[in-house]
């Protein structure tokens, strides 16, 4: 390639750094996204996004309540505030064909995939009917039926595992894409970059999604990250980045379309940064003293993804009574899930020794 030729003709010149490839278009997807803009949802689609986001919100609020009552134990990380990310992205996927993997803040991603709130809530309360039969808990939930691969408790592990799922898609040539979510905190783990390197090297069909909710537990991105523009972090691996408003479900969906088109077309991995915000603490036991009430209030009042979707629906002339009815249905659904999770039995003690190994030796 002409641009990579060394300047001059000497041996020494050959080992100097080549000039950058002008065709190396890291920002191509971002430019396309800026041009194309948000997803043009019809009323039914927008209504469905609204329903999913509201379900996640109400589900998480109820989970927080059950935690307070001692019905949910251990770590419990709520998705409140970030709903538009999972809903906007996953609505663009082919469920069952594409795979999804995330970290421990995983309830929302499962609900966005239409997994029954009852089995999720029952897992939170550690019951036999839970999706992991009560043995995983909040951070470790899976649904192979939906090609949802967890639910992983070690920060960053899901990124390499997701690259492995993408590897399997490519190996089988099944046309699937893996969507691997991680946070701004996980973005500082070494294995993330090991995975970026191999994913780009092997042209794996994967979308790396950084849910930048601004805080890695109690540490703000500014205090933990030399490069806080996380979408740039694929540059060293020639992975194109996209910087997306994660509080706007239609913007998220619009960006997802562009990323998916690139990956499905054989373009290799994409890195998306979804700028979002969690309203609650890192986990239920986090008082969140590292940020001001005003900051949270500002986000809630001015950037809430659910309120924005609702406003848009009203603007489009959707009957408010219809929205009220939907809200009522969701409350009932969540109430039912909570009742189920409270009343269904704990696992039999004999379950202690099941599923350690698959085979008997």
């Amino acid at each position: 390639m002409a641009t990579r030729k060394a300047k001059g003709g000497s041996q020494a010149a050959a080992v100097t750094s080549p000039t950058d490839d002008p065709e190396f278009a890291l920002r191509s997807l971002q430019e396309k996204y800026n041009k194309q803009g948000s997803y043009k949802a019809n009323d039914d689609e927008l209504m469905e996004f609204y329903r999913q986001m509201l379900l996640i919100r109400r589900f998480e609020e109820r989970a927080g309540q059950l935690y307070g009552l001692g019905l949910i134990g251990g770590f419990c990380h709520l998705y409140i505030g970030q709903e538009a990310v999972a809903v906007g992205l996953q609505s663009a996927l082919a469920e069952g064909k594409d795979s999804v993997i995330t970290g421990y803040r995983d309830h929302g991603h499962m609900l966005a995939y239409g997994i029954d709130p009852k089995v999720i809530m029952a897992e939170l309360t550690g019951r036999e009917a839970g999706i992991s039969r009560g043995k995983g808990g909040s951070m470790h939930m899976f649904s192979t039926e939906h090609a949802f691969y967890g639910g992983h408790g070690i920060v960053g592990a899901q990124v390499s595992l997701g690259a492995g799922l993408a590897f399997a898609h490519k190996y089988r040539d099944d046309g699937g894409v893996c969507m691997a979510y991680f946070g701004d905190g996980a973005a500082n783990q070494g294995q993330v970059y090991e995975s970026f390197n191999m994913a780009a090297l092997w042209n794996l069909p994967i979308i790396f999604v950084i849910e930048n909710n601004q805080y890695a537990m109690g540490t703000s991105t500014a205090r933990s990250s030399a490069e806080t523009e996380f979408h740039r972090r694929g540059t060293a691996f020639r992975i194109p980045g996209m910087d997306v408003d994660g509080m706007d479900v239609l913007a998220v969906r619009g960006a997802a379309e562009i990323a998916l088109e690139h990956v499905r077309g054989g373009g290799g991995p994409v890195l998306m940064e979804l700028n979002t915000y969690r309203y609650r603490g890192h986990s239920m036991s986090d008082p969140a003293k590292y940020r001001s009430r005003d900051e949270v209030k500002e986000m809630r009042d001015k950037h809430d993804p659910i309120e924005a979707a609702k406003a848009e629906l009203i603007k489009r002339g959707i009957d408010e009574a219809k929205l009220k009815e939907l809200e009522k249905d969701i409350r009932a659904q969540v109430g039912e899930a909570a009742d189920f999770a409270e009343t269904s039995p704990e696992p039999e003690l004999s379950e202690l020794y099941t599923d350690v190994l698959v085979e008997t030796y």
Binding site: G134, Y171, R172, N197, D355, L357, V358
Partner: protein, 455 residues
Amino acid sequence: MAVELKMPALSPTMEEGTLAKWLVKEGDEISPGDIIAEIETDKATMEFESIDEGTVGKIMVAEGTENVKVGTVIAVLDGDGSDVAAPAPMPSASEPAEAKEEAPTEPAKPATAKVQIARDPDLPEGTRMVSTTVREALRDAMAEEMRADDRVFVMGEEVAEYQGAYKVTQGLLEEFGAKRVIDTPITEYGFAGIGTGAAMGGLRPIVEFMTFNFAMQAIDHIINSAAKTNYMSGGQMRCPVVFRGPNGAASRVAAQHSQNYGPWYASVPGLVVIAPYDAADGKGLLKAAIRSEDPVVFLENELMYGKSFDVPDMDDFVLPIGKARIVREGSDVTIVSYSIGVGLALEAAERLAGEGIEAEVIDLRTLRPLDTGTVLASLKKTNRLVVAEEGWPTCSIASEISAVCMEEGFDDLDAPVIRVTNADVPLPYAANLEKAALIDTPRIIEAVKKVCYVD
């Protein structure tokens, strides 16, 4: 002044090699940096470069000669053209039998050839046995399983184009292509995660670590991702991955490259851990590991790769996971071991037999799940037990076996169980210190005599 050119050691474990080709002839002038010969080691064909200047006076070892010990004078260089009384040349390759007879009489380190090893009893009558190195047996196991199942692939550092850092994957790239034999960057944490994820996604990866020392970078995926996910998902998630590579001390590579991880992985529920000794077990158990629905840590030993053993010539030789093997029967004492320790235990048993002590030697083969039944049955018979382990003593497999014998075989014990292990120190580099740190046959013999109350 004549310079003797000696057979070089071209790898840490090389004891001998083949003088494949001379690139110079007698009378040629050579300078430092000239390539003068090609030498085949146990791992690769290497070029032998001269560091001296002069005229090739006498070629002492003909090209094509096999089993030339490291340090043997292979040529004499006349530094200033003066004639020097050269040592007698070694016989050429055309007389291989003589060459072997003239080789030094000192026995090879893990002397295994002379001891008779009991085979698994269920081989069909008249099965032909083929002498195979451990290295070849492992490669054959992978190749057979890759032929049988498209989902099986191998990934790791230098497994493809380089043909394996220790040549275990030799020839696989040629047969199966780059889609299924995949060179990774040096990035253990990342590729262990990718392999584990691929297994979750329905494939059957074989992840090779160049050595298990480097797998410490990746241990999070082996334990937290691979071992626990089936349990955490209530049995939904499968992870049929094999992590394999050399484990334990090699030779003079010092502390960071010499460590037995058997006890580490064997302590983790959700993993299967296999550590074979000979070629047949290597093959039969690696095939079983690849077919297993569970994640398997498969611990090989670099010092064993080049050793040859009989392997049954069968279409599909698979061994059961979780079954120990009595490799030598005896009535007076039981020696439990695994991996390279089995050779030392067998050697100790042979020497003890000369002194009238008949030792039973058990090769655990699988470290998790541990076949305690075979150990306890043997203890019931001999009432005395020693564990021989090439590894640290603390929290070792030997510790575990001792506990099992105490908890479940207390009434059968006529003496306390003794652990014979490496010294409880990081492995030193200096040859004498390394030797002092590593388990050896005399120490096993000493322990056996102690539990038999013989001085």
